[in-house]
Symmetry: C2
Subunit: 554 residues, 2 copies
């Protein structure tokens, strides 16, 4: 990799710190709250996490740290999809350990959890860490999606940690990876080891969030990058006045990214999967909502607009979910026979005899390009790859069809020309915003304090994020506190609950109160590219959804 001018300048950025983390490590006192309980399934969780359940909430404050400043050996893992700021978590962790004792060592596990299982590491020196400060990406040590699941993988992980003589393992990841961190912490104690495990809340999707974790890192930068692009496209639409842009946004099942981007850019329509599921809104009704905006705007002479679509939408639309399930089942029942069916047309015919009439009617009515994706783009198990379905094109096709009918009936007087976009990979590795740079560095520092304090099974936690950084509250939350039991592959498993958009929360309610206006008028807002050096109202703002959530609480 070459170093750009911006990257060079970003090396010099010094993240702003919470007051409690700003001084010497020995001036950080550990305040403990009462024993923390999980939100549900407490008895079962207590049984699974015999040694790590019921630990107290930790808050750092100015005072005396009681620990001796021993040398610490820690290893760090980047797990799952990239999120801007991961490098700063590592920089904060590194600096914290060095401040604690300059003889401390930080290992980086290569390419995700498998680095721990297979003992693939690199020693992270000051020189290496400096080359990644305030940069995007996870390329300092690479990332991976493997999980530590099987007994032999747990055993191998312990063996690696012992071989390296580690005091602690830090896992930077999303809900799944932190569930893994909790299980690993419990396993280490179970095996008589005192090696600690600490997690850090990462994911651009924003679905790792609860009372103590206000937001996962990377969400801010990703949303600001997508909002830059959406805003630019809006300005384009408002200039040429002839295109409707259907923009799908990454974010897996949750619609947090779509909602944040909607609040930042004010599109004509933003679909929220959680609302669609809750209200059982059908595909035709979704099409009607979009057509409603198109028709009303056309009446004002505005034959252009912007629609935001969350990545996971199709899975929340009841009848599409049904089609997908029936296709998957039909293939599972008769895999061998199906493998001999060649072309799209032949496949369509094959399914016509194997899925319900309703589902077949939906499948064959889809734009051919999309139908093909349903049938031909399957994963190794033969399942439809939902994330690869071009929902934006599906909706464009269906809206076009509907408008044609409405035009014939003289209920639509405008013109409709649409373009589809998908934004995802563009935002996962952007240079972290100042907010994410500051937040991540504090998370890394916090992880180092949790390690130095001999704690395990904790998620590093920095709160009060809508206040200026020196008022941020840092500490740790017991991982088990965020867990519940969920059905996974036929068995009840302890997992960190995925936070979806709450329809009763202020971000959604704020959007809801504005969307009828946006549906018709051109209320677009163009935030522009993320700025790192300008005035604080441009450079240092936390996500809008977070501001709405916190301001309501206060």
């Amino acid at each position: 990799m070459e170093i750009s001018a911006l990257q060079k300048a970003r090396y010099e950025y010094r993240p702003k710190l919470p007051a409690c983390l700003a001084g010497s490590m020995h001036d950080i006192a550990i305040e403990t709250g009462g024993a923390a309980e999980a939100v549900s399934d407490r008895d079962e969780l207590k049984k699974i996490f015999k040694h790590t359940y019921g630990k107290p909430l930790i808050t750092f404050s100015k005072g005396d740290n009681k620990q001796t400043n021993r040398e610490i050996k820690a290893g760090v893992i980047l797990s799952g999809g990239q999120a801007p700021g991961g490098h700063n978590v590592i920089a904060g962790l590194y600096d914290g350990l060095q401040k604690w004792n300059p003889g401390s060592t930080l290992y980086g596990f290569l390419d995700g959890p498998k680095g721990l299982i297979k003992n693939k590491t690199t020693i992270l020196t000051g020189e290496i860490v400096d080359a990644y400060r305030n940069t995007g990406g996870f390329d300092i040590i690479g990332s991976g999606r493997d999980k530590i699941e099987k007994p032999e993988e747990f055993a191998a992980s312990l063996k690696t940690a012992k071989t390296l003589g580690l005091n602690a393992v830090v896992i930077i990841g999303g809900d799944d990876s932190n569930t893994n961190a909790a299980l690993l912490a419990e396993y280490f104690i179970e095996q008589g080891s005192d090696i600690q495990v600490i997690g850090c809340p990462k994911t651009i999707d924003g679905d790792l969030k609860n009372e103590y974790i206000e937001t996962s890192f990377g969400f801010d930068t990703a949303c600001k990058t997508y909002s830059e692009l959406i805003g630019n496209i809006m300005r384009d639409a408002n200039s040429s006045k002839k295109y409707w842009h259907f923009i799908k946004l990454m974010g897996r099942a949750a619609s947090h990214i779509a909602l944040e981007c909607a609040l930042q850019t004010q599109p004509n329509v933003c679909l929220i999967s959680e609302e669609i599921e809750e209200k059982k809104i059908s595909l035709n009704q979704v099409v009607d909502i979009i057509c409603d905006s198109i028709i009303k705007r056309a009446e004002n002479g505005d034959n252009f607009g912007v629609v935001l679509i969350p990545e996971g939408l199709v899975e929340f639309i009841p009848e599409i979910k049904q089609v997908i399930n029936e296709i998957n089942d039909a293939i599972a029942r008769d895999r061998e026979n199906f493998s001999k069916v060649g072309s799209f047309i032949d496949q369509l015919y094959w399914f016509s005899m194997r899925i319900s009439e309703v589902s077949y009617r939906i499948l064959s009515a889809l734009p051919p390009e999309i139908g093909m994706e349903f049938l031909m783009d399957r994963d190794p198990h033969g399942n439809v790859q939902v994330s690869r379905i071009q929902t934006e094109k599906l909706l464009i096709g269906m809206v076009e069809k509907k408008l044609k009918t409405l035009k014939d009936e003289k209920k639509f007087i405008g013109s409709f020309c649409a373009m589809g976009h998908f934004f995802g990979y563009e935002g996962r590795c952007a240079f972290p915003s100042n907010f994410d740079s500051d937040y991540c560095y504090s998370l890394g520092l916090s992880a180092s304090v949790l390690i130095a304090s001999g704690l395990t099974g904790y998620l590093a936690c920095v709160r009060n994020l809508v206040a200026p950084p020196d008022e941020w509250i840092a500490g740790g939350v017991p991982l088990t506190m965020m867990m519940n039991l969920e059905q996974r592959r036929g068995a009840k498993k302890p997992v960190i609950r995925k936070a979806l958009v709450e329809l009763s929360g202020s971000p959604f309610k704020s959007y809801k109160s504005l969307r009828d206006t946006w549906l018709v008028t051109t209320s677009f807002c163009v935030p522009g590219a993320i700025q790192y050096f300008g005035p604080p109202e441009i450079c240092d703002q936390p996500p809008l959804t977070l501001q709405l959530e916190k301001n309501k609480k206060e």
Copy 2:
């Protein structure tokens, strides 16, 4: 539209100016060079442009302007696709006219050239102009792609200009629009009118460029926005190490954008249409070039990479050009019969009997999704819509096929998983970079000086752009100087020559000297988002291609 924090801050930006334009308008002297000649077809051009051919090159310098400071009425048109900085041209024009005489009036013609034809205008007040300073988009008055072509359209344009009592019309546009400006200037004189016509060089594509026009405005901002996204994706690829990203970039026929972005980001492969045409590289050879990179990188364990593809590529690949032509011809010969052919499969069959065997073999070998685009996505004349063909997916499909064969032959040992992207609309309306903000404002000011000096048939021109702005040279170039005759719809027409990438130019040569390394190694560079407030090496750099062109000349 709502006003974002960045937009508010950008209102305050004061564009940097060439020394000659910085003071009072009355201190700008007009220096004239010798009579300017066109590069070719001089005699024919002389006949077409009886009154405007052979005018001198104009350069502004510090001195005395001989003109009296009369009130000026001017009208301005934004023509064609959006380019960042258009609003600053208008702001410069407005400020220049006001400085000349505060009683001057600037009309904005609405939604492109048709605003002039149909006399649809708005008066641009200081308040309106202030709300668009240093912003992207053309939404201040809208844009349009109509042309002033028919005799009655020329007559209507003159009528509007006379009705409004205009002294001048300013056309902000690309090669076509400025060809139009030249014809309009000539027509006005022919009709005994002294209404002046001035052009301004706009287009993100970078193909309006010659000895005097170093770059068109918007190119810099668009390329920097695309490079931001490409760089982010590169960092993503280098973190997860499992995807090849095929990125198509806007830019019509010319590959300037792809080349500039390649120099900024250093991808593994960047295809240059001009080279492919010159060397008659076939589609299979293009696929081989990409596979070569994939195979070599896989041997180093790098199963990821980035390929840049210029928008116009397919039209430059000989055999694809042939397929498109044969499809267009077949439909033109038998339009009625074809309109009855329904599905994709039926259409494929229909063509099998009407196009050459070679072309049919290519067509039916295309990935079905792409074949469908060739056959089903046609413009109102029945022609294949080349710009809508997903070249990135076409290449992914063909590369996949080829690698499968190579894998069977044990010539490819890696894995290949690819993703396609198209960047275009994301960059056309971004907030203009400082470079584009400065350049455009100077272009607008220059246009006002050309008007005040009574000149017509000129393109506003600001040169020496790689030097600091106060050393920039401003003036005007006779539009006819950039023209030649080209075949258009069966007749020879005067047009401004489109500048394609020169294979003997330093930007391409620089790329060529580096690409063998980039093909194998990970030399990615991540420029990050456009910055407006930071250090000059980040915020004020002209395009790299321009720097290479100028530094070589000097």
